[in-house]
């Protein structure tokens, strides 16, 4: 038993938690902006997958990981705008359009890597530089904290920074305020002269870019290549983290951290020869229970009001 606790409460465990939290954090931040703008977020999964590939290809052709990341951001924003066009202008049912986007991503990514590499599984044969890990001066030399907080990927730190920036953006800037008003009540927003579509598209571009960053972390930080279906439900978990974090940046960060911890716990426990598949269910079961409890408490509150 001590053995188990040692494994779990080690600096390694906490380091892994932050690492595996990163794509979930980006997915959840993207879902947060989507939701604030009143846009359905089920397509986040597909956007992330496409951006994982876009990042690798950008990085391969320019041999510069930051340009690869930029490619992913641009592709993410464009895909989000496409989703916006389909749901806002063509008036497709948003959940179905999101499912379509995910279907498209899973097919198109395989299609593209087949043409680029001749294989259908992954882009391992491509040379694509990855984003650097950053060792923070001073912090890295501190005992315990240093080995937990320093040495993460560039995108991980970017994610933490963006959480703060987004908090300021949605609560403190006029644009953020308008995005929220458009999301909460488009008719009311329109009646006071806010251009609804403009702010919807601003939200779409930001959310798409965030999903793009999350996707590029998968293929340029987490591992160094794209493999098919590599996002593996992280976009969906992001939706869960967003709804559990009640749509606030700090809540989103904390619930992403919780999912990260569950994921990292699953990785740890696998080392102990426990049944792998049952352990793999932990993050998903945690999500379901957490959402159920949170939704229940919210309903209770409404009733007691």
């Amino acid at each position: 038993m001590n053995n188990v606790l040692d494994l779990i409460f080690s600096t390694d465990f906490l380091f892994t938690t932050i690492r595996v939290m990163t794509p979930i954090l980006f997915a959840a931040l993207a879902c947060m902006i989507f939701t604030k703008g009143g846009i359905d977020s089920i397509g986040t999964e597909g956007i992330m997958l496409m951006c994982s590939l876009a990042g690798v290809l950008g990085s391969h052709y320019t041999q510069n990981p930051f340009l690869g990341m930029l490619t992913a951001v641009i592709v993410g924003s464009l895909l989000a705008c496409l989703f916006g066009y389909v749901t806002l202008s063509l008036k497709s049912e948003p959940v179905l359009a999101g499912i379509a986007l995910n279907t498209l991503a899973s097919g198109l990514t395989i299609f593209i890597i087949y043409y680029v590499t001749g294989e259908k599984g992954s882009t391992q044969s491509l040379m694509s530089p990855t984003l650097p890990n950053i060792h923070i001066p001073l912090l890295k030399d501190m005992p315990i904290l240093g080995s937990i907080l320093s040495g993460h990927n560039f995108i991980t730190y970017l994610g933490l920074l963006l959480t703060v920036v987004l908090a300021l953006f949605i609560y403190k800037t006029p644009t953020g305020l308008r995005i929220r008003s458009v999301g909460e009540n488009p008719d009311a927003a329109k009646s006071i002269g806010i251009k609804v579509y403009k702010y919807k598209y601003i939200a779409l571009i930001i959310a798409g870019a965030l999903a793009g960053l999350g996707g590029s972390f998968m293929s340029m930080g987490y591992v160094s290549f794209f493999s098919k279906e590599m996002v593996a439900g992280r976009g969906f978990i992001g939706m869960a983290a967003e709804s559990m974090g009640r749509g606030t940046p700090i809540g989103v960060l904390l619930s992403s951290l919780l999912f990260g911890a569950a994921d990292s716990l699953a990785i740890r426990l696998q080392m102990l020869n426990l049944p792998v598949q049952l352990i793999q269910t932990i993050p998903y079961v945690v999500t379901i229970i957490a959402i159920a409890i949170y939704s229940y408490s919210r309903t209770e509150k409404k009733i007691s009001k």
């Binding site: 089920i42 389909v86 202008s89 063509l90 008036k91 497709s92 049912e93 959940v95 179905l96 359009a97 499912i99 379509a100 986007l101 279907t103 498209l104 899973s106 097919g107 198109l108 395989i110 299609f111 087949y114 043409y115 259908k120 439900g233 969906f236 978990i237 939706m239 869960a240 709804s243 049944p275 598949q277 049952l278 793999q280 269910t281 998903y284 079961v285 999500t287 379901i288 959402i291 159920a292 409890i293 949170y294 939704s295 229940y296 919210r298 309903t299």
Partner: protein
């Protein structure tokens, strides 16, 4: 009369969606392929070129008829419950257990295995429904999460209890010969599964259109508040519909397993549940159109498969068609003008003939 014309608009929109998606795919083929014409011809006409290939189309229809019906049932109650994917998978796991655990007389054993599958599938889709009804938890998110839980628990059950050590992969033991569905057309693998599928289509149609339960489900799906005020127990109606939807998906898992395989050999979610979404949309959530819509997808799949074997176009191109069809069919703005003109024209005609006053 008016209803027929509006149905015509829906059919037109379906045709527009399908044609557009296929044209998009043709343009992609023309752009990237070295042998575009043979690719397109394989894709369009390949499935008709032999009995075996026609058989492939019919075989491919079976699982997606089940998931299409499942989605139709799940969605009719107004829930975006996407756990039919997990229900189908768990259905085939439960069917494996039913087939390998007992040693019952042949026909009884297969029925028991299918019951297992249906119950397991129903259990899966009931979870998001229960959480929705009791806790008001968003069924979309919980059902998506649940699919992964189903995947891992299913694989755990197979590898722990039914794993055949003589195989290199995580396959189960062979099923007894008596569990496999009988082939009904020589030269193909078409089996009695297609008959069960068609029976399910009829049963689902009857349930949705000829029973008070079906009427209640549709009412709850269209207007939950009104349904509640008219005294319906909306929670029970939702639970019932989700249970039945999952049972259909679970049964589909069993039929596909016993019809096309000799042992359990999935290593991931097979994706038929997601296909069911497309099937149900193209069929406009009407059970009677599900086989037609399944035929469409199965034909495209078989065509794409033939094309991918003989040319340089990968099979996954089919997903581009699926995505475009889903978006365009659900796009209310397409043909909106035409639809409105029809309604106005209809109203004017009625006005002129004085029918409106009479009614």
């Amino acid at each position: 009369m008016k209803k027929n014309k509006l149905a015509l608009v829906e059919i037109l929109r379906t045709i527009v969606a399908i044609t557009t998606s296929i044209l998009i795919v043709f343009s992609i083929i023309l752009l990237v392929s070295d042998q575009p014409l043979s690719a397109i011809s394989d894709f369009l006409f390949g499935p008709l070129k032999s009995i075996r290939r026609i058989g492939n189309v019919i075989e491919a229809m079976v699982p997606i008829i089940f998931t299409g019906l499942s989605v139709t049932m799940l969605y009719r109650a107004g829930l975006f419950n996407l756990s039919m994917e997990g229900a189908f998978f768990i259905g085939s796991v439960a069917a494996t257990a039913g087939a390998l655990l007992f040693d019952l007389p042949p026909v009884i054993n297969i029925i028991v295995a299918m019951l297992f599958a249906a119950l397991a599938g129903g259990l899966v889709t009931s979870i998001p429904a229960m959480l929705k009804v009791k806790c008001n938890a968003n069924e979309l998110v919980t059902s998506l999460m649940l699919n992964y839980v189903c995947l891992y628990i299913g694989l755990f059950i197979i590898t722990t209890y039914f794993y055949d050590p003589s195989m290199n992969a995580n396959y189960s033991y062979l099923f007894p010969e008596s569990m496999l569905l009988k082939k009904i057309i020589p030269g193909t693998r078409i089996n009695t599964g297609i008959i069960v599928a068609m029976v399910m289509v009829i049963l689902s149609w009857l349930l949705l259109n000829k029973t008070s339960f079906g009427y209640k489900v549709t009412l709850v799906g269209k207007n939950k508040t009104m349904a509640r005020y008219s005294g319906l127990n909306t929670g029970m109606v939702i639970l019932g519909s989700q249970l039945i939807g999952g049972m259909i998906a679970g049964l589909g898992g069993a039929i596909e397993l016993f019809g096309m395989y000799k042992r359990f050999q999935y290593s991931g979610l097979p994706g038929y549940g997601w296909d069911g979404v497309l099937i149900a949309i193209v069929a406009r959530y009407k059970a009677e159109y599900v086989p037609l819509s399944a035929l469409f997808l199965a034909y495209l799949r078989t065509g794409a498969d033939i094309m991918s074997r003989s040319t340089d176009i990968p099979f996954e191109i089919i997903k581009i068609i699926q995505a475009v069809v889903i978006v365009l069919i659900s796009a209310q703005a397409i043909l909106k003008g035409y639809r409105q003109r029809l309604i106005i024209k209809e109203a004017k005609e009625l006005d002129a003939t004085g029918v409106l006053e009479d009614e």
